[in-house]
């Protein structure tokens, strides 16, 4: 197996899919000749031609609208939104068209596709290059939302997403694009959508986390361990539909839960997770669940480390919730 970082793993997944299936086409701003501003699509235009790796004009609504049309025709489009922060011109197409297409056409038409987009902070991006907007997609019935934390999962989830009949929003945590390195198998393999992974078992506190914050949770858990608190960390991998069994089981065991996400707290995904767990594990909960999240402000530039739910904020939350009764 080769060592790859997440950028390489995603690139590799796209290459595998494009080689096998000529229906797969990529489109977006700067995805072609230059290979993406993060170089995720590097080399693909050369290999597959600019008819299948398309540099588009600056038009997010056009990219997603056209991708829907391509999908209706029978292609498997993979639009890229250069930063999730710039998704919004395309949101009309996502809310009213993409997410509802099969439903509203009585099952006649489907628009399976994977929309890739980098998310998250910690890269000195200020509030226009750091947002992590899963809320606006999880709240839309009809979409699946994925966010890998490792190179292995990124490739495996993307290959699953490309064969999924439903539209998948594929969030790429850009802070760990290069830092998340690991063994990645060659060729095809799948990480199933909808399955979380217990990446650290523990009996005291469950930490629910995804994307770049997984590493912060791991760091906090290592420190908590030194103070005698054992965290069970679940990397959700798929944000929605969440792996309800895995998380419920863990919380029934620990009775204590900390949710970590970069997005602002109010109506962040933590609210849904905590409500789901309250609904189905209420009598197991030994302490109020805790959210460690971005604050309810736009994402700041200079103070981004203070804004983000990094290890230094996860650790006290874990220790508190472990003590509470």
């Amino acid at each position: 197996m080769a060592q790859m970082n997440m950028v390489q793993a995603i690139n590799d997944a796209l290459r595998v899919a494009m080689k096998r299936d000529r229906r797969v086409v990529l489109l977006g701003e700067d995805v072609g000749k230059v290979g993406g501003v993060f170089r995720v699509t590097a080399g693909l235009a050369d290999e597959f031609g600019c008819e299948r790796v398309i540099d588009t004009p600056l038009t997010e609504n056009g990219i997603v609208g056209a991708a829907i049309g391509m999908a209706l025709y029978g292609l498997v489009p993979v639009p890229e939104i250069q930063f999730a922060d710039f998704f919004w011109p395309a949101y009309e197409q996502v809310v009213n068209e993409l997410s509802k297409y099969r439903y509203r056409s009585g099952g006649e038409y489907t628009a399976g596709m994977v929309i890739r987009t980098p998310v998250g902070g910690g890269i000195r991006g200020g509030h226009y290059h750091s947002q992590h907007p899963e809320t606006q997609f999880v709240c839309l019935p009809g979409l699946k939302v994925v966010c890998p934390a490792s190179a292995y999962d990124a490739k495996g989830l993307l290959l699953s997403a490309l064969e999924d009949p439903d539209p998948v929003i594929f969030f790429e945590p850009k802070r760990i694009y290069r830092a998340a390195r690991g063994e990645v198998p060659e060729g095809d393999y799948k990480v199933p959508i909808g399955s979380a992974q217990v990446i650290r078992p523990g009996r005291d506190v469950t930490i629910l986390v995804y994307g770049a914050m997984v590493y912060e949770a791991l760091d906090a858990a290592a420190k908590a361990h030194r103070q005698g608190v054992e965290c069970e960390i679940i990397d959700l991998r798929t944000i929605w539909p969440v792996d309800i069994e895995t998380i419920t089981e863990s919380v029934k065991k620990t009775g204590r839960v900390v949710v970590v996400h970069e997005a602002p707290r109010t109506l962040g995904f933590g609210a849904e997770l905590i409500t789901l767990l309250t609904e189905r594990a209420f009598y197991y909960l030994q302490a109020p669940p805790v959210r460690v999240t971005g604050f309810d402000t736009p994402f700041p530039y200079t103070l981004e480390a203070e804004y983000m739910p990094l290890s230094h904020r996860i650790l006290p939350a874990v220790l508190d919730v472990a003590k509470a009764s």
Partner: protein, 402 residues
């Protein structure tokens, strides 16, 4: 083909929006029309059929008499159904209808002009197009009632059916969203090496949306075989076309994208067919998209929810009534001895009988299954929808709301 100018260019085009150059009142056969600039030196209105039913031979699309009769019957069908559906709505038997009164020729002509393997991306006023393609009256009516047989399973409002087997799209309400999708579809076909074009319908109001802008731009840049068919019916609900844009025509918007634009008399079945075919041929040659502005008029309200008397003078309809698209084809047929009042009366009677039967069937068809509410959100039901489905079934049934 004389008069069909897909190319722009004229020295006399005046500076738009100049105080010194007020919007000239439009003229069409002598009638003044307030809402639409009816002539423009650079974008003349292509017209084949005179009010009296004379056909300009240079614009003759070469239809056989049988074809014309066939299309005329579809015009009559469309109009008759429109009128019946409004009545049905007034009786409270259906919830809503958005009709095409006055716009029938633009719709029927353009759909007829493309190939049956070309895909239609509808707005919401084109049931005539769907019926011409082969959507059954019964299926259409099932949608009007949102019953268990509705192609969209009672999930959308009336007039939001779909018809994939006839290469006909899925209707949604948001204005403009179908435009980029139509471009993507034809682009997909092009990438796939298929000679398939798309014909996308939208209104004058839709030209102000993001998706018009992006769809036009993408299609032109990538030479995508999409025919952009703008039904300029003078109104976007209560907003007249002259307030929708300061350009004198909608056709000239094409030029901003490096695409040819053409204005056609939308009440002229023959001209619509000629112009649309010409654009289709251009697409087939790999030259890309065309914008067609069909000048017509919305003779009814925006929908059954709208009362146009609140914002327009009834007198405004008169000149347009004189350009009635059905009457003009009828004149053409009559001149050729191919129309008799008694024939038409018989058709209408037959349509009405069919309609009555279809309504009776649709109305007595039960609503969609309760459980169908959860289908098709995803390809297979995820855990949360399975749970919610059980909750719904185990809970009490809802009261009737309407």
């Amino acid at each position: 083909m004389k008069g069909v100018r897909l190319v722009s260019g004229s020295p006399t085009y005046p500076a738009a929006g100049r105080e010194s150059d007020p919007q000239r009142p439009g003229q069409l056969d002598g009638a003044t029309m307030r809402h639409i600039s009816m002539d423009d030196d650079e974008y003349p209105i292509v017209r084949a059929l005179s009010s009296e039913g004379e056909l300009d031979p240079s614009l003759d699309p070469g239809l056989s008499l049988e074809e014309v009769v066939h299309l005329y019957r579809h015009l009559v069908l469309t109009r008759t159904l429109d009128q019946r559906l409004v009545l049905l709505q007034r009786q409270g038997r259906i919830g809503f209808h958005v009709g095409s009164l006055g716009e029938e020729a633009a719709i029927i002509g353009s759909t007829y002009a493309v190939r049956e393997t070309d895909w239609i991306f509808p707005c919401y006023r084109e049931f005539g197009s769907a019926l011409l393609r082969g959507l059954s009256l019964q299926k259409f009516m099932d949608n009007m009632f949102g019953n268990a047989n509705d192609t969209v399973k009672g999930r959308q409002m009336p007039d939001h059916y779909t018809c994939r087997e006839k290469c006909w799209g899925s209707i949604s309400s948001p204005v403009g969203t179908q435009i980029t999708q139509a471009v993507g579809f034809a682009w997909g076909a092009k990438i796939d090496g298929a000679d398939t074009a798309t014909l996308v319908y939208f209104g004058d109001g839709a030209t102000s949306t993001p998706d018009f802008h992006s769809g036009m731009n993408l299609a032109a840049v990538f030479k995508v075989p999409t025919l952009f068919f703008c039904r300029n019916n003078g109104w976007a609900i209560s907003v007249p076309a002259e307030k929708q844009t300061a350009s004198r025509t909608f056709a000239e918007k094409a030029r901003a994208y490096g695409m040819p634009g053409v204005r056609v008399d939308g009440n002229d079945l023959f001209a619509v067919i000629a112009v649309t075919r010409r654009a289709r041929e251009r697409a087939a040659r790999g030259e890309g998209p065309t914008l067609i502005e069909a000048l017509t008029y919305r003779m009814g309200g925006h929908s059954t929810s709208d009362d146009p008397d609140r914002y327009r003078e009834h007198a405004e309809l008169t000149p347009w009534a004189q350009q009635d698209p059905l009457q003009r084809v009828r004149n053409y047929l009559e001149k050729r001895g191919a129309w008799r009042a008694s024939d038409e009366a018989a058709w209408v009677a037959e349509i009405e009988a069919q309609f009555k039967r279809a309504v009776a069937t649709s109305e007595s068809t039960p609503p969609p299954d309760l459980g169908s509410m959860f289908d098709d959100v995803y390809a297979t039901l995820p855990w949360h929808l399975l749970e919610q489905r059980v909750q719904l079934f185990e809970g009490p049934r809802a009261p009737k709301l309407h």
